[in-house]
């Protein structure tokens, strides 16, 4: 028996052996992928086209065509609004977060006193701003009152002055509104950009110092070095970070709450699946548009 087995092993070439082991290593993931991802994904698609009645004997699934989708888009009162808000929020936040985290990564990469402390503070949101904590934080009454008492230590960073200056100097009103809203939501932005800063920082540090040296000898200022060296070199990471930010926004989105409520509170599984699929498709469309536009401008070294 053993010799047969050995014989069987020996006949395999080196590459075949590696392929076999590769498959064995991937196998656990593959099983999980089928059980906990692909099958649920397919059945979620099926649910979205059917009406589901759950009773003591189990579920009765009957095909009803696209009426779940029609219901979500035309009948349900909150779906359209929630979908647009969460997508608009995403579209507004993503550029802000990416630009902000690139800026901070550049700053944190410079040498200054207290850099280690600053770094550890800026990565703190990675562990704090997620899940329940973030949800509960927004409803804290004491915090709201205290902010009032303290004269708005954080909320009122004095954007009104800035707004007046910008409006008077002829900046478009939309731009002003966008920028001031960014300042007002500074905590939200900072707290969502921890991982992105990490990724950008790693990217900046992998740029070879010779490039900077050469540019310095040629007389480039730090400002020019940023636009001509740092930005092109980290441009692939901009795409990575945009995608990460979008994925990260799932967990915070109101859509998630709505889908869950429809599914688990109202027990309308069909409608809930339909909503989830519309949300998923909308995000895929946005992702592919963004990827298409950004990947054209990305600079790859090779």
């Amino acid at each position: 028996m053993k010799s047969i087995l050995k014989f069987g092993m020996k006949r395999r070439t080196y590459a075949e052996q590696k392929a076999l082991w590769g498959f064995i290593y991937v196998l656990p993931w593959l099983l999980g992928f089928l059980l906990f991802f692909l099958i649920p994904l397919v059945s979620s698609l099926r649910y979205s086209f059917s009406s589901i009645e759950a009773n003591a004997n189990g579920m009765k699934i009957s095909f009803i065509g696209i009426s779940n989708y029609v219901e979500a888009l035309t009948v349900n009162t909150s779906f359209n609004r929630t979908l647009t808000t969460s997508i608009v929020n995403m579209v507004i936040n993503v550029p802000l977060i990416v630009i902000f985290s690139l800026f901070l990564a550049v700053l944190l990469n410079q040498k200054f006193v207290g850099r280690a402390i600053a770094r550890s503070i800026f990565f703190l949101p990675v562990i704090l701003a997620s899940g329940v904590i973030a949800n509960l934080e927004t409803t804290s009454l004491v915090q709201a009152i205290n902010e009032q008492n303290a004269g708005g230590a954080v909320s009122g960073l004095g954007t009104s002055e800035l707004t007046r200056i910008m409006l008077n100097s002829g900046v478009s009103e939309n731009v002003v509104a966008y920028l001031t809203s960014a300042v007002d939501r500074i905590y939200q932005i900072v707290s969502q950009s921890g991982v992105q800063i990490l990724i950008f920082l790693a990217g900046i540090q992998s740029v070879s110092p010779q490039l900077y040296e050469a540019s310095k000898i040629e007389g480039a200022t730090g400002y020019e070095a940023f636009w001509k060296i740092t930005l092109p070199m980290v441009s692939p990471l901009i795409l990575v970070n945009v995608i990460y930010t979008i994925i990260d926004s799932f967990s915070r989105s109101e859509m998630t709450t709505l889908i869950r409520e429809t599914g688990f509170t109202n027990f309308n599984f069909g409608l809930s699946s339909a909503m989830a699929w519309i949300y998923f498709l909308a995000i895929m469309v946005i992702l592919s548009i963004i990827t298409f536009f950004i990947s054209k401008r990305i600079f790859y070294q090779e």
Binding site: L20, G22, S140, Q205
Partner: protein
Amino acid sequence: MIIARLLSLESWKRWLWTVVRLVLMAGLSFVILYPILQKISTAIKDKSDLYSPIVIFIPEHYSLDNFKKAISIMDYWHTLFNTFTLSAMTTILTAVSCAFAGYAFARLKFKGSNLLFGGVILTILVPPTTILIPIYMNLKDFSLMGLIPLLTGKSVNLLDSYWPFILTSVTANSLKAGLYIFIFRQFFRGIPKEVEEAAYIDGAGVGKTFLRIMLPNAVPAIVTVLLFSFVWQWNDSFFTTTYLTSGKVMSTQLASLPHNLSIMLEGGVATNKDPFYMSMVQDTGILLAILPLIIIYLFVQRYFVESIERTGIVG
């Protein structure tokens, strides 16, 4: 000469930039730390300070009463132990299974492995809400594609136990596992092929090469995955509240803290139900929930910062 250099435009620019940077860093650090400071100051306040107009940050009467209340309502020590066990368990299992899968995707190519890696990317991109309901149903009547009913006669209900977490993390499909597989794959691709080939020439099989040569070289990637997986599992409310409906872990306890608190207060003096006070205890509860993470972070933050830089996600 020295004075001329001091007064030159260059040095002025440098000084100005230093000041601007300092202000920016200090300001943003304050923005990040502000909620935590706020919570700490609320938590150590006495109830009577809540309405005192002169108390904003530093309380007039210190008290640990809030902590006592929050600890007793949340069943804190028990919850802490549960959460720690759950997070540690899923973290280790996920890291192991993702390391295997990542290595296979990076180095042990077989027919269709690129297609399967596309599947990994898909798991990253699909929002978890899309598959939540079928997974829930699946776990409620878990049959393992009809195998379990064949053996025992009926399917098992895996909800409200740790099994969903164990199963998903053994099979590298737990929370954000696609990302970890991606990290491992990128890292293993960055290790020179010659290292591996040397091991093969010396007679090591695939398994031995992986365990003895590649894995010890992959410490930065392992640390990154361990850290992120632990933190995200600790904070996760999405899967935890779905799988564990009555289990005592931090995120479920936090979510139900306001409710439990109001029940407890109503049980005591009926007029005691003061929204400010409730909010105060709730803040203390949040502080207690993140406190272990902050303490751990103080020790490992060095790795946090260093690890990503060396994992080669960027490479």
